[in-house]
Amino acid sequence: MSTAEQVPPIRDVDEFLAWEERQEQRYEFVDGVIRMMTGGTMLHNWLCQMLSSALNQHLPPHCRAFTENVKLQVASSILYPDVLVTCDTGDLQASTTTQALMAAEVLLPNTPKREIDRKQRAYLAAPGLRHYLVVSRNMLRVEIFTPFAGGGSRHDVVEQADGAVVLPGLDFAIPMTAIYHRSGLLPEESAP
């Protein structure tokens, strides 16, 4: 969902954020590299909405799930998670947080592995992050990464329509039918 971009010299997150605020497009900043966020398909947007609305129905009042345009700062990187859960909601005028409880990316089947690895490394380095989800958008599949305090992570894969994405860190389980509702990917639903 991004392309590399040539921009004026930007050395750190502060310079990036000041620059990005003046741009019409959204950009990510990963270890010094700037990339423009490109538009997504309706299905991509829909899956983000289904996931975030399921989360918002469950989350306590001070925590919220956002889709696609709230920035997460992890060390010297700025990311736009497709879905971001944070309890750092005291100032709703803010556009960036450093405190993610959960992040999710909705990925295409042809996303290069290097790109998946880059995002996985960035998210799993976020302090306090309890789960990182990778949601497939060509089939029923949600991967759940749960980082351990001492390094490493647990990896679960849910592929069954009657399964659930279990998130112990959020004390919540989301049925696959809620995430893929009206996506055309559930067996009993026709194509969109």
Partner: protein, 200 residues
Amino acid sequence: MNTAENDPSLRTVAEFLAWEEAQPERYEFYDGAIRMMVGARGAHNTIAINLRNALQARRPKGCQAYAESYKLHISNTILYPDVLLTCDPDSQRNTVTDHALLTAEVLSPSSVRDDNFRKKALYLAVPTLRHYLILSQEYVQVEVCSRTGDGPVTIQLYDRLDQTIDLPGLGITVPMSALYDDTDVTEDLTDFIDKREAEE
């Protein structure tokens, strides 16, 4: 790393094994579907051999590590893992085993995500399997999937040459630098992505 073929006369693992023995090429068998194994570029082979040698030098007593030439039997499927470690006492007399403690795949740059997923699920279905390693040949990265007892699968990601891989299921450790010895694989994923995007 392989091309699909089909021979409807081969339905069972026994039929496939008898047929494959007479072939000049190596083939995998996915529940009735046959795939020929094709050649790989240098780094793939170097990394697979490096891992095999590192495991062989540290292997538990009675075990053997093989690279690219030993078959693994999983229900109605036969795979050629890039690296396989088995403690099957008959492994040296046979060409196929259903007892693997560790398997590893060196990903090719063109490998398809769904294929990788399918392989991982197959390997993790081997009851004796404790570790499955996924090695990148594009940048320094080893994903170690580990299983202890009936517990969940855990993943440890290694991405630096000064790290040491812990394989508790085998009671050994392997230095990352040994796996990427004699290759020019970069440690810098961001730099690698920049260069690839500049080429594309």
